[in-house]
C-alpha cells in the first residue's frame, strides 16, 4: 500500500500538466490517499514524503509562477482542504513521522505564497502543541517562511 501511495504522488507531473488539470491531479492524489482508514506508520511516512516531493517538484518547475497561480486559484478549496486534513490531523504518531510531516508542511509553504498565508495559523498552532523541540523548530521555520514568502 505504501508503494501505491508513492506511485500516486509520483504520477503528478507539473512539467506536463498545467492549470486546472494540475490542480485536479493534486486534489485527486490527496483525496485518494486521505481515504485510507487508520494508516499505519509506513503509510503515514509515504504520504508525508509524497506530499513533500510533490510540492518540491512544483516549486522547481514553477519558473513562470503558473503553479503558484494554480494553487492560489483554488477557490473551491479542494487542494487546500485536503492538505489541511493530511497535514494537521491529530494522530500524527512518532517524532520521526511528525518530522516528516513538518518537512511536508515546509515544502507546501515554500511552493505558494497564498497557500502559505492560509496555512500559517494552523502551523503556528501545531508548533505550540508539539512535545518535540526538533519538530517545533522545523514548524516554526516553516511558519516564518510562510510569513516572509
Amino acid at each position: 500500500m505504501a508503494a501505491a501511495i508513492e506511485a500516486t504522488f509520483a504520477s503528478v507531473n507539473p512539467n506536463v500538466a498545467k492549470g486546472d488539470e494540475l490542480r485536479r491531479q493534486i486534489a485527486t492524489s490527496l483525496s485518494e490517499t486521505r481515504r485510507l482508514q487508520n494508516p499505519n506508520i509506513a503509510l503515514q511516512r509515504s504520504v508525508y514524503k509524497g506530499i513533500a516531493a510533490l510540492f518540491e517538484g512544483l516549486t522547481k518547475s514553477d519558473a513562470d509562477g503558473s503553479v503558484a497561480a494554480t494553487t492560489a486559484g483554488d477557490s473551491s478549496g479542494g487542494v487546500v482542504e485536503h492538505l489541511k486534513e493530511h497535514l494537521f490531523r491529530a494522530d500524527a504518531g512518532s517524532e520521526a513521522v511528525r518530522l516528516l510531516r513538518a518537512d511536508a508542511i515546509a515544502a507546501v509553504v515554500g511552493s505558494c505564497t497564498a497557500l502559505a498565508a492560509e496555512l500559517r495559523p494552523a502551523i503556528l498552532s501545531l508548533a505550540k502543541e508539539d512535545p518535540s523541540t526538533l519538530v517545533r523548530a522545523r514548524l516554526s521555520g516553516a511558519a516564518a517562511g510562510a510569513s516572509t514568502s
Binding site: 508503494a3 506511485a7 485510507l36
Partner: protein, 71 residues
C-alpha cells in the same frame, strides 16, 4: 512504461508491492509524459481494496499458515 503498468496490474500479492514501487519509480523518472491517469487506474483499485477490506479475514502468506498448523 507499458511494462511497468502491466507488471503492477498482476494479482500476485507477494509480487505486486514490488511492481507498484517500480511503477512509482518510473512515474517519478518520466518527467516528459503525463502518467497520472494510467497510474491512478492501477493504484485506485488497490486503495479501494484497502478501504473496503477487513484485515482479519485475509491470510496473505499460505506457507506461514500451514507451518503454524504443523506445529
Amino acid at each position: 512504461m507499458q511494462i511497468a503498468v502491466r507488471e503492477a496490474k498482476r494479482q500476485n500479492a507477494a509480487y505486486r508491492p514490488h511492481a507498484v514501487k517500480a511503477l512509482a519509480q518510473v512515474a517519478d523518472a518520466r518527467r516528459d509524459i503525463d502518467m497520472h491517469e494510467t497510474v491512478m487506474g492501477v493504484v485506485k483499485p488497490l486503495l479501494d481494496e484497502d478501504v473496503d477490506s477487513d484485515p482479519m479475514d485475509v491470510d496473505k502468506d499460505g506457507s506461514k499458515a500451514s507451518g503454524a498448523a504443523d506445529t
